[in-house]
Symmetry: D2
Subunit: 144 residues, 4 copies
């Protein structure tokens, strides 16, 4: 494993995301903001599929507490993007993901993301433990 998650081999699961014409900004490449929509989509899409349920309707929901991204190379419509996922930490109430974005044809990451979910009660918004259903869904994302 590379020490900073720059390679596809550093991730445990991948989600393919199609880019959009309007993702590109004035400089002709995917705007930095859009990278975070790939993170958001990869994490939630993985969870919905792996948990086999619509996570938006569970009593506990994941609220985004912190995110970050290092931009290493440009992405550009129309090439699709592969978002790699791996767990950095599965805590009592929080989950920290590392996410790598890869141009479809490349082995090294165009961007390195970090994404922190904190679980809260959907009504009271009080912090709660990560639900068992989510814990089980995250099992395959654990770093080897």
């Amino acid at each position: 494993m590379s020490d900073d998650h720059r390679l596809r081999a550093d991730y445990r699961a991948f989600r393919r995301i199609t880019t959009r014409w309007m993702d590109n900004d004035s400089y002709g490449h995917v705007n930095n903001v859009v990278y975070y929509s790939y993170f958001d989509t990869a994490v939630n899409g993985y969870l919905i599929e792996a948990a086999g349920t619509d996570i938006r309707t569970l009593p506990a929901i994941g609220i985004v507490a912190e995110t970050s991204c290092r931009f290493l190379a440009e992405l550009s419509f129309p090439e699709p993007v592969d978002a790699g996922l791996v767990l950095e930490k599965l805590g009592n109430s929080s989950v920290i993901y590392r996410i790598g974005l890869f141009s479809a044809a490349r082995e090294s990451a165009a961007a390195l993301g970090r994404f922190v979910h904190v679980y809260v009660d959907r009504v009271s918004r009080q912090v709660v433990p990560v639900p068992q259903l989510i814990r089980a869904a995250l099992e395959p994302l654990k770093s080897r």
Copy 2:
């Protein structure tokens, strides 16, 4: 009134919307898709303010049934946009808005939009009459 709503005088209320860096696309101007976010924001922002309540929590909600836009001139970040609103028709279950988008400094529209809301029960999604609260809020938008 101009016969096709090209002038500020053709509208009854205005909402100022700030443009965003990423609204601009590869050609350096606001992407066509984003114009519709201005329509959506102008209509819902007007309704929330004029109705004095969060319309998202009412028993009847407006669902978008049809929209269209003619693009006449370019808009570009960082200039703000004024969205003019006027009613084309207030029906039993539907409301049709005409929306004009104006660069902050211009008298003639950069885009002409049409936006059709149909009211439905928030749970059953059956079509229902336009709520009285919404009707009252729309009064000032009637064409003279």
Copy 3:
């Protein structure tokens, strides 16, 4: 062919687009504005692939003159969307597309779009004929 393009069989080419978590709005379904980003992406993605070149660098570029959409059914993340394309008209300087959006598993359209491109000189922005390269790329989209 259905008379209003409601079926997959009414379209000549399809582009698969992945939805995103943030496409969903307060009502839990893809926001109306986002449908237009699918149109924009389908048309430009098709052209780039069929023309075999980056259309953004050609001397003549397609500017969006008019778009519209009728919303028939909800779309929702995480399901992918298939955008069907067919030509309504290939004029001297303009191209009119009909676009149908389909949930991955459905035969009838969730939305019916119309998208008008006018070709202009990339520098002077004067209207010009549709380039031969684009005409050839559009051949497979002609309605049978």
Copy 4:
């Protein structure tokens, strides 16, 4: 000054940004991704205004190298957002901004951002010094 930039007094300039209906996601609040579009808009809008020129056409352009955000409170359409800006560091080739997002009526930040621009030659994309015009524009953002 608060040690982590939580207060309006910790920032040197403010940009008001109007929220949009579609900024809200399935949970009824502004989606985490959209916060970054506020950062992007605040930094570039400030630079365009303070430099008195369209920074997109300068020989050196700012490329986003790294961003991050801590989410402290929810933002929600239709309330506008004030983005506060202050310099963390003005380096030889890079500029690091701290950005605080505030609900219009609040004194404490809803989100704390960090935004790193690296200047590159617009054609070769080689790293270059921060242009003098940009340095002068940044003067008022220096932390006292």
